[in-house]
């Protein structure tokens, strides 16, 4: 048991007699108690706690360079995922990244193509892009302000779940990263008919069917 020194002083002031305080101290001593300062208590409470790195800095100096150097054309990745007899896990190992099987596989991809329909009525705004070799998939760049998924956080090997104390802190980190991206995405204003070059990430547990939602991290 740990008693803060300040608490001890309050206890002492409140005590009716010195004898009582002595008794408390003896009792505390016998019970294995340790009197520590407020500073020591804070250090003890913080011991072993990990809050992970700074999300904004990680996005700029970690995620973006990693994404740029690892992105493959989305058509190539989709082709590999949808090939006859393709193993999702094998394609994930070759083209994607996931820390453990508790997370979906995250694929860093480049999207080059002509912008089609743009939906900004939904909070989950998106711009569809016509891409070669996409097969039956429709490619949509997420524009926010709601970004679906945590692929930006989970697709970067520089950040691990074990860098955090618990799931809540890990979530807050991912949320902060997405929030930063949403702010920056305000400069990305694709128009129907224009051509875009985007590096981003999409995530999945299996080969995507239908709409592939890409979170852009680098755009032109």
């Amino acid at each position: 048991m740990i008693i803060r020194a300040s608490k001890y002083m309050r206890m002492r002031r409140d005590c009716a007699s010195r004898l009582f305080v002595t008794a408390v101290l003896i009792s505390a001593s016998l019970g294995g108690c340790t009197v520590v300062s407020d500073q020591e208590l804070a250090q003890l409470q913080a011991k072993g706690q990990r809050h992970g790195p700074d999300p904004v800095a990680t996005l700029a100096t970690g995620v973006r360079p990693y994404a740029k150097s690892h992105a493959k054309p989305i058509g190539e990745v989709l082709k590999a995922l949808n090939a006859d007899g393709a193993s999702f896990d094998d394609v994930c190992k070759k083209y994607g990244f996931r820390q453990t099987t508790a997370f979906p596989c995250n694929f860093w991809i480049s999207v080059d193509g002509k912008v089609g329909a743009i939906d900004t009525a939904s909070r989950m705004g998106k711009a569809e892009v016509a891409v070669a070799d996409a097969g039956d998939s429709q490619i949509a760049l997420q524009l926010g302000p709601v970004l679906i998924g945590t692929g930006v956080r989970d697709g970067y090997p520089g950040v691990k779940y074990s860098d955090f104390d618990d799931q809540t802190r890990f979530a807050v980190f991912g949320q902060a990263m997405n929030k930063q991206l949403v702010t920056e995405l305000q400069t990305f204003k694709p128009t129907t008919g224009s051509t875009v070059h985007v590096v981003g990430v999409f995530s999945g547990w299996s080969a995507p069917a239908g709409l592939v939602r890409v979170i852009p991290v680098i755009w032109q």
């Binding site: 706690q49 453990t100 618990d166 799931q167 809540t168 890990f170």
Partner: protein
């Protein structure tokens, strides 16, 4: 002395009620204690079953006990099994923060503890902390909830048990998604204590005041089933209900069109992995794997509900 008698009586009663007294196995590798929450909850029963079956398969005897989410009882049971000389403990703890001291006590006595389902806020005490990716589970089901009811309208949240950190995490995950849609209004938020009856009662009451809700998002399976029972009684088949857990009852509710979706937590898988790590540790002095590990939840809808059986996903 009296305390010892009480603990022994509690222990004996629990073992008797679950029908799993220490079992002798072919090889004498010692005994592993498996301590979970309430064995009348299908999730915890599946956890216990998974750990028990795996431990016996590896040649251990087992003691399966329930602490009923009571920290004091958990401490008594852990002391008891340590006294009985168990080789290790697989524990779904009663309270994340309050269990640090319990796990530390076991470590100090040289008994390794593997935590399943719930983490504790300290590293280096348990040999492993295996939990479900509750954020992923909560986010996925919340996203499906939005996709189903739309980006505006009124909804209700029934949490499972806010004394349980997993339930808090799930609620946080829900709100990380839902709160990004200003058109979605949470008109009621109630802790249904993780059980069917309190959830039904809460929903009965909420419906009196908010008949215009579009959906109910629930922190676990029994709560979702309680909400469904209430909505069915009120003749409200239009209200969308989603949950998290993935019990057989939820599976059946999905197939019957009463529950829109759930996320199946791999209760048996996490327990089996916990026993495997404990076995490795007992043989080698280390698990060889990271202490904190997450397990994926699987989104269950009508399209894949038939694959759910006893918290195991068939045909992974």
């Amino acid at each position: 002395m009296l305390a010892k008698w009480v603990v022994s009586a509690v222990c004996a009663a629990v073992i008797g009620s679950f029908g799993m007294a220490a079992h002798a196995a072919a090889a004498d590798k010692g005994t592993i204690a498996i301590l979970v929450n309430a064995l009348d909850n299908p999730y915890y029963a599946a956890e216990a079953k998974g750990a028990d079956t795996r431990a016996k398969a590896l040649g251990y005897k087992t003691i399966v006990l329930s602490h009923n989410e009571d920290v004091n009882k958990q401490n008594e049971l852990v002391s008891l099994v340590i006294g009985r000389g168990v080789k290790g403990i697989v524990l779904d703890n009663a309270d994340s923060a309050a269990s640090v001291a319990t796990v530390q006590m076991a470590k100090d006595k040289g008994v390794p503890v593997v935590l399943i389902n719930r983490e504790i806020p300290k590293d280096g005490i348990a040999i492993a902390q295996l939990s479900h990716n509750n954020l992923q589970a909560g986010s996925e089901v919340a996203q499906l909830f939005v996709d189903t009811i739309g980006e505006s309208g009124k909804y209700v949240e029934l949490t499972c048990n806010l004394a349980d950190k997993n339930c808090v995490t799930r609620s946080q995950a829900f709100h990380q998604v839902l709160d990004q849609f200003p058109g979605l209004k949470m008109v009621a938020h109630q802790d249904a204590k993780g059980a069917l009856l309190p959830a039904k009662q809460a929903m009965d009451s909420i419906l009196q005041e908010h008949s215009d809700i579009k959906g109910v998002i629930c922190g676990n399976g029994p709560v979702a089933l309680g909400a469904i029972a209430s909505l069915q009684s009120a003749g409200r088949k239009d209200v969308v209900v989603v949950g998290i857990d993935g019990s057989n009852d939820e599976r059946d509710a999905i197939l019957a069109g009463k529950l829109k979706a759930t996320v199946m937590l791999q209760a048996q898988g996490i327990a089996v992995h916990g026993v495997n790590l404990l076995d490795t540790y007992l043989k080698t002095g280390k698990t060889g794997e990271p202490e904190r590990q997450l397990s994926r939840g699987i989104l269950i809808t009508k399209t894949n509900a038939a694959k759910v059986k006893d918290f195991d996903y068939q045909g992974k």
